[in-house]
Symmetry: C3
Subunit: 466 residues, 3 copies
């Protein structure tokens, strides 16, 4: 490792600077929210509702996204550890940026932190971690931190444009979390692309790293209904979002098996599809979780999302990598990007199919600028246009800012990953002695010859020459 | 792979057919429940109670049962993936079948889906997944799907007979979930039995596959109090079910260690007992979770269940396999079947020991046809007889329908698992390059001779000949 | 294994005795709590608040602490299984001991069991499991049981002294759980120390055992806000404890990365720091979770805890092991002990910095003997002194009782771990065939020579000589 002095110290320098910056900003502007203060919250109703959902929303990013990305055989430590680092870093920075954009801040020059604020910061963490999925294995720790430092405000600004300016409805973040994160991620990935990233012998999984990543899959599945319903306004909407998300996940799960096998020459299932595309129903219902009112619609959203997602993994992801140099390590475009678009389009279609009158005044919980019996506002068709506008703005904004971020990350001042060490823990983590054997050699062993075959005895009594 | 064209396409054909069938049925008859609709659910009380329990009940089948079955060394992908597929498939189909049997359907020709309905479908998924445990590694994906398609309505019909016709009490499903699933599963296993299933060199675990399965164990432990209490009627009953389940699990956990070691010649613990029989207290309290009123009784139910369960694993399971050709891959008879019987018998004994008057009118939450001060009904002795009847009906019904299902699954039209590939992912999943080494060769290596011993250096710099 | 007849039966004898003892005591004195009885709990508010928190508090010990300790390469079965055994054993015994010390017992000669009582027993289990971390791999199963049997009442007595006699505030157990457990554990470890424990070739991890332990890390992170807030009195305090714990964990997570790399010669991260010290913010906020009222303070507590914790792992733990014979397998002093002290000192400092008037009467929920406007009591300075007294008492009490316990455990009557088999499952668990290869040989393989290189083909078709 011939890293310069600056290269080897830049993590220390920048993370210290960011920490000091965050402490100063929290110190000057941060408050505990009223409901946590001694005279706050007279009863347990609200916390009993919010806390389990926060718990799951946080588990979504901390556990689910963390293990999902641990499929690389030589990058398990980094994948998990950097995920944890980014969760913590983005939560701090996201609480601050969201605080600055809050109405409270413009009134009192201070922002406060409640359970819901933490959950909102988890949404931002999710979008950053999705981007991380596109470049996992290709950047150094400091580059990931810089990426997170830049993307956090951009993700929040995009959300602000869609929610506060365009009045887009996206209660579970199909567009503002999943699509933004995916597009931003592949834009960065394109700019930092090197052919070695495709050629690397270290890319890919081993059997047990795939199983570790499945820990992420099942927890994401389990946490998704909470993730999509935490920002629902009424109890009815919360339950509706849960039911919609459940049904869509059922649809996307069965459909993923169907298409994963169908598109495989030898009619085998691809475990990476099973570990990823099964979740696409959760992604796609983010935009419509409280809008859907029929089981059929929920299932169809999930089914379409899974078809698109599996096709993405099978066709789009390899094509982009080999033709356009857009190498997306975990396939975030196929898991989060394309199903995010499905979600946005589903919201458009449903606006035409669902008579919005049935929502009464509560349509404003879904689309805050929609007309109701008592208030003027957008027609469904107008709202549909704004949904499309939100989709377009997000893609464009994520692409442009992702490219710029990629250019910044590519700067020679940052420590880079050595070409031979793509997707490998060795340069950045202390690894145990078996590391190389377990993660590299085992894949090359095709024939073992036991020259001296002795009778099977207790393994503990085995001789072996060391 | 010399699979015929039909054999290699039948998964596609049948899963597509089932998906279309489900979509049609959901489209015609399925509704969102009233509490999820725009004018539903004025407050968060109910959802704050139901949702965390649904979350756990679903985690029970999705995460707990999934990882528990991932102990086979070469069947990790299949075990986890098929579990996920069956969860989704059975939830869809179970929501439909339960809908058809609901009072709402007979009145309005439609059924609706609430959080509790999803949890009920999770119960059915649990019973199917328990059956799956008996045949894991022996069937092809399409056979598992057919099994689930057939068992889902049968499991619900059995439950309907016990609850609606016999007035059996079984709040946490000792009989209708665990016992039914286990008996059905071993009946199927008997019919599809081939000697190769016992002789297979692939049966069994490796060290890390056993540890993966323990992820299932701890989550089942943690989710079990929710699983047993979600259908409790009052807040008191919910808490009672939680306390009972906890205490029984404490009893079964300690007792499993005691008997696992005691019955072992070399006084070693058997990790498979620890990973399974520790949970038998949860199984057995399903039938009595809201009936038990003393810590001693709860502990004893757990202790007896664990003793029976460990004896099952040690004596019954191998005996059945070798003498009767009932090969039960994961030992579901010992984990779910026998403790389920313990639960049913516990409900009989407690009906004699507990003065049911102390329950007042709430005895009808446990046994809906029981007499109370204000209403005529069964005496405790009569109810005990009906509990026994429910036990007998379930065993008989599960045996008969399981055998028939086994006969259907054995039909040559279905793709079968090749004899050499029992308990192996290779025919049905893409596997990574290390697969064979990690899951097969390592178990045969008794001696490694390092012919050239060089000084320990950075592992990344190792030479190795490829 | 030349274990004497007594040695090989003592687990059976003692665990049977303890089980009978517990059954007798539960039978005579144990009751279900009023809210679980037929006429209890009219509404779901309380159970909806308590149950999800109990669920997490239990998951904390069952899942989090269990997997965290599974990092040893050859001790995965034992680490996980013994953790599970101790959870169950300590919950039973702890419920009894706490019952005997309850006001209810002195009035009615009986104690009752509610959800909160189970959570309190989980606190005691946590302290025992932390002690277990210091000696993991060095004791036989019966020794662990004896340790737990002795430590459970001692831990509860220490808590009783601090809470009931000294009026110490420690809502999340920085002092009574984490510090007590750590000090007790290292005291035991010192007494049972043998040089073979340091020299053992089996100490340490392999790549996948480290990843298994990270399952523990992320779940501890996720469960910690619940662990610290379950005994908060008001809804405001619960939310405050959640926010404080979250922010401190953010601080400790980022800071751990900073210092783990900074203190490493090659500027690599140490995965064991990442898996442990990131959690130190949770430990340290136990004593101040409901006292902190500013985000800055919460973050700083986490940051300081992480610095101390990483320094502990880097400097203190190895020093103690090599100079003083205090070998702490999992580094519980650095993860739980030192951050526990940080928590205690934070409570002292905050008592001087926070004007306790802002809490009004609710200061008594934090410090029950504190003065309020309406009641006489301690000044903040006096309370600070009592906090320090509690810290001192705990260290002293844990040290003395830990040493005595260690002496008891060292008695030759107990089966001991053979020196060659430190940190190894082989003497106490049935292990699969690959065990020795996976957990021992792989670490020694530096060069693999494939003498005959044939073209890469399907792995299932590999020849290999068996």
């Amino acid at each position: 490792m011939a890293a310069s002095k600056f290269a080897s110290n830049q993590f220390t320098i920048f993370v210290t600077l960011f920490t000091v910056l965050f402490l100063v900003l929290f110190g000057i502007f941060g408050r505990y929210s009223g409901e946590t203060l001694p005279n706050g919250s007279p009863d347990f109703g609200k916390v009993s509702r919010d806390y389990p959902l926060l718990h799951d929303t946080h588990g979504f990013v901390l556990i689910g996204l963390g293990f999902l990305v641990a499929f690389l055989r030589r990058y398990g430590f980094s994948a998990l550890a950097i995920n944890l680092l980014l969760v913590a870093f983005v939560l701090e920075w996201g609480l601050i940026i969201r605080g600055f954009l809050s109405p409270e801040f413009s009134q009192h020059s201070a922002f406060s932190i409640s359970l819901k604020d933490i959950a909102k910061a988890d949404y931002t963490a999710a979008s950053v971690l999705i981007s991380y999925g596109a470049v996992v294995g290709k950047l150094s720790p400091i580059q990931y931190v810089i990426l997170a430092f830049i993307e956090t405000p951009l993700s929040i600004v995009n959300e602000f444009i869609l929610f506060a300016l365009l009045g887009v409805g996206d209660v579970g973040g199909s567009i503002v979390v999943h699509l933004f994160g995916a597009i931003f991620g592949i834009a960065v990935a394109r700019v930092v692309f090197k052919p070695s990233q495709i050629q690397s012998e270290h890319q890919g999984s081993i059997y047990h790293s795939d199983i570790f990543s499945f820990v992420g899959t099942v927890f994401l599945w389990a946490f998704w209904p909470s993730f999509n319903s935490i920002f629902a306004v009424t109890a009815a909407e919360q339950q509706r979002a849960v039911v919609t998300t459940f049904l869509a996940l059922l649809g996307s799960t069965v459909t993923t098996f169907l298409f994963s096998q169908l598109l495989n020459k030898e009619k085998r299932f691809n475990f990476k599809h099973i570990a990823s595309a099964t979740l696409s129903g959760g992604v796609a219902t983010g935009a419509v979780a409280t809008l859907v009112l029929s089981p059929l619609a929920a299932l169809l959203v999930g089914i379409v999302a899974a078809i698109i997602s599996v096709l993405g993994f099978n066709v789009v992801t390899p094509l982009l990598a080999h033709k356009l140099g857009v190498h997306d390590t975990r396939g975030v475009l196929s898991l989060h990007g394309l199903p995010g678009i499905v979600g946005a389009l589903a919201s458009v279609i449903l606006l035409f199919l669902t008579p919005t009158e049935v929502f009464g005044e509560t349509i404003r919980n879904i689309y805050p600028l929609h007309k109701t019996d008592s208030k003027d506002g957008r027609t469904p068709a107008e709202q549909a246009l704004f949904q499309l506008a939100g989709l377009g703005v997000t893609i464009l904004f994520a692409l442009v800012t992702g490219v710029i971020t990629g250019v910044i990350l590519r700067l020679k001042i940052w420590r880079q990953v050595r070409e031979k060490e793509n997707y490998s823990d060795t340069d950045f983590f202390e690894v145990p002695e078996d590391f190389d054997f377990t993660t590299r050699v085992t894949s090359h062993i095709e024939r073992v010859e036991l020259t001296e075959h002795t009778e099977r005895t207790k393994l503990t009594n085995n001789e072996f020459t060391n």
